[in-house]
């Protein structure tokens, strides 16, 4: 008898989603889907609002990465107010935004790795769910848990110092920033008492990379083979090919490292990227136009970024990058769980960048904004913690927004996450007579690797009830289990 398994909600991810797995008479997986079950509607209700409200309004999409939306919107509006793109802002405008952005990525990555992922690594995918959570980590690995909490705190403090609040600040305005870095904050972040200072953060970030490398050595087979599949990868990179999370040009490579897109101006992203709508999910499916729907989907996020960039412009992260790239002899990395490895290298990079910027005198002086001739359209693209984030706006003569299109990072990873779910379901569930909790968690581990922010607003930390329903071939409910 054919069955349908539903995993809802998916746990230890940001937002709410569910997975359905269809089994045939022999309990082989025939179809899998990751559904996004929430609808946001920001692109609609922002219409008619004055354009300068966008960075503050749209960041309310998310409680985890509001800074990314805040900055992507501000970058799009830089174009609209005639301030230009990229490095055309004043030094303080550009650098304060970058500092805010690095603080955001640092805190978000830390939250994901230490709070959401480490339980799977420390206790195992099949461990008792009662201990396989952040409380379990805090009880058994106190030092690691404290580092996770304090690293997140540091990132949040950086955001507060640049945006005015730890969540949903107002720092970036069209054409620049609304404040200089205050001396008190600079001192606190650079020379504050341990552990909340930049030196300790870089040290701990290096420690986190080392922790993962050690884990990887001991569990290489599992890490390399879990939900492995080849894919395209997309991100922005600096003009010279360096990893740049804030500004750059679009680049996409295939599974072998051949460039599909290179040096693409972000203002023209919609000439190269298309979105497909499928009836069973509120999340769209983006793809690279010239490859078509079937072959054009791609991964974004830390794994993709380290696959597209040529180098990392900070010394410690570059050293780790070289070691990491050697695993695949320089070829793109298509291992799902290597997302964690790449993410930790990015934590180290952002730690180094924050330290460098905090020592930069430009943050405390100079004009805050620039302005030029207004135009009607603007696109802002940056690398959010979870991947490439696109914001596009158009305005009318009265300064009202007439069009808003957002391709959120997780949206880009929609098809890869579905692929991952499919592979893990087949590997773990094919032909098995009973659904076990570890099987379901394995599906979630694959999704979790992408650090998805499913609704990009709500977020669920820790254990949420997991419901599995069995349906027969006529879609009649046969059995239901709730953990």
């Amino acid at each position: 008898m054919a069955k349908k398994i539903t995993i809802e909600p998916v746990t230890r991810v940001e937002g709410h989603g569910k997975v359905t797995i269809h089994l045939d008479d022999q309990n082989n997986v025939t179809n899998t889907r990751l559904h996004i079950v929430e609808f946001r509607g920001f692109e609609r209700f922002i219409l008619g609002r004055p354009y300068w409200e966008a960075p503050v309004l749209v960041q309310r999409l998310c409680g985890i990465c509001p800074v990314s939306h805040h900055l992507a919107a501000a970058k799009a509006l830089d174009v609209i107010v005639g301030a230009g793109v990229g490095d055309s802002l004043t030094p303080v405008g550009e650098k304060m935004r970058r500092l805010m952005h690095y603080g955001q990525i640092f805190q978000s990555h830390s939250l994901h790795f230490f709070h959401l992922v480490s339980p799977d690594l420390l206790f195992g995918i099949d461990a008792d769910p009662a201990i396989r959570n952040i409380i379990g980590v805090a009880l058994k690995h106190k030092d690691l848990a404290v580092q996770g909490v304090m690293m997140r705190k540091f990132g949040q403090e950086v955001i507060r110092a640049t945006a005015g609040k730890k969540i949903h600040g107002t720092g970036a305005i069209p054409g620049g920033i609304n404040k200089h870095l205050e001396l008190e904050d600079k001192e606190l972040l650079l020379n504050g008492p341990d552990p909340v200072n930049a030196d300790k953060m870089v040290e701990w970030a290096q420690g986190a990379v080392d922790f993962f490398k050690d884990y990887y050595k001991k569990n290489k087979d599992m890490i390399d083979n879990f939900a492995f599949f080849p894919s395209n990868h997309l991100s922005i990179v600096r003009k010279d090919g360096a990893l740049d999370l804030y500004n750059g040009v679009l680049r996409a490579v295939d599974a072998e490292g051949n460039k599909i897109l290179d040096d693409v101006d972000c203002q023209e992203y919609n000439k190269y990227i298309e979105e497909e709508v499928r009836s069973w999910s509120y999340m769209k499916f983006p793809y690279i136009k010239k490859l078509g729907k079937e072959k054009g989907w791609y991964r974004v996020g830390p794994l993709a970024r380290l696959n597209t960039c040529d180098f990392i412009p900070t010394p410690l992260a570059q050293k780790e990058f070289e070691e990491y790239k050697a695993i695949n002899k320089g070829k793109p990395d298509n291992c799902c769980l290597h997302y964690h490895y790449a993410r930790l290298i990015e934590i180290l990079h952002t730690g180094e960048m924050m330290k460098e910027l905090l020592n930069d005198p430009d943050l405390m002086k100079g004009d805050l904004t620039v302005k030029g001739t207004k135009v009607k359209k603007g696109v802002g693209v940056l690398e959010a913690p979870r991947g490439t984030l696109f914001h596009q706006y158009e305005i009318n003569d009265d300064d009202q927004i007439t069009l808003a299109n957002l391709i959120v990072s997780t949206t880009n990873n929609n098809e890869p996450m579905n692929q991952s779910v499919n592979i893990v379901a087949k590997t773990w569930m094919n032909g098995k007579p009973e659904i076990t909790e570890p099987m379901m968690n394995a599906v979630e581990v694959a999704i979790r690797a992408y650090d998805p922010c499913l609704s990009c607003a709500t977020h669920a930390l820790g254990k949420m009830p997991l419901e599995i329903s069995l349906y027969d071939v006529n879609n009649e409910l046969v059995d239901k289990k709730r953990t």
């Binding site: 004055p50 300068w52 409200e53 503050v56 949903h168 305005i173 009265d398 009202q400």
Partner: protein, 234 residues
């Protein structure tokens, strides 16, 4: 003028002195006593429209911004009963408009929001109306969001161009009553005049175009001290 020639009154058990002709609100202010209000603004005949400043004299509720202070008045102002009434009015103003503080650029400088904090409003007790009164963005420097208007009439009394009122009521009353902007006059306002108009509005109904969120969080009017504390410090 020494105190013997002034009007003697008591407010919240404090003996105070007022100039003849002062309203209770003005007299209280000059004696360091804050009476909350939203529609009152210096230089304009008080409309008494918001009713927040109601005080109690001889068991009667009076509007402090329109009632002249009188010799021997004993006034209750900062008492739980009145503050609860004021809080209810603030809540009514919140639900009768679309006041979404998280995205509003007046947040931190908004008097309605500041009063809500002062009265420790958590959530309105009344159902939201979600009005659809529309916006007017035709002026070069002003974005007029009627859904945030609290009908205080400050802009009607104070925002002028060539001695003509830029803002006015659209009718005499009823549910469709709202403040409208004269597009022709508004388009003649200078950038400075538009900024002044934004400052006159106690909420975020009148916005100066292209200047949103220029005050960093922590440096906005009510970030550090609650509304009225400047008066109470005197």
């Amino acid at each position: 003028m020494d105190n013997t020639e002034k009007i003697k009154f008591v407010i919240d058990d404090k003996v105070c002195y007022a100039e003849p002709g002062q309203t209770i609100l003005e007299a209280a202010k000059s004696n360091g006593v804050y009476i909350p209000s939203l529609c009152y603004i210096e230089g304009v005949k008080p409309p008494g429209s918001c009713r927040i400043c109601n005080v109690r004299v001889n068991n009667r509720n009076l509007i402090a911004c329109t009632t002249p202070v009188a010799e021997g008045m004993i006034i209750d102002n900062d008492i739980p009963e009145l503050n609860e009434l004021r809080k209810a009015i603030v809540e009514m103003l919140f639900v009768s408009g679309n006041h979404f503080c998280p995205g509003c650029e007046k947040s931190g400088n908004c008097e309605l929001q500041a009063l809500a904090y002062r009265f420790q409003m958590m959530v309105p007790r009344f159902p939201y109306e979600f009005p659809e009164k529309g916006v007017n963005a035709t002026s070069k420097y002003i974005f007029h969001d009627r859904n945030r208007c609290i009908m205080c009439k400050r802009c009607i009394g104070k925002v002028m161009k060539d001695e003509k009122h830029v803002f006015a009521y659209n009718s005499r009353g009823g549910e469709h009553l709202h403040v409208v902007m004269d597009e022709e006059l508004a388009s003649q306002l200078t950038e400075e005049e538009a900024t002044e108009a934004m400052d006159i509005c106690p909420v975020g109904a009148i916005l100066k175009k292209e200047r949103g969120y220029y005050s960093p969080i922590g440096h906005r009017k009510y970030d550090k001290e609650s509304i009225g504390s400047d008066i109470e410090k005197k």
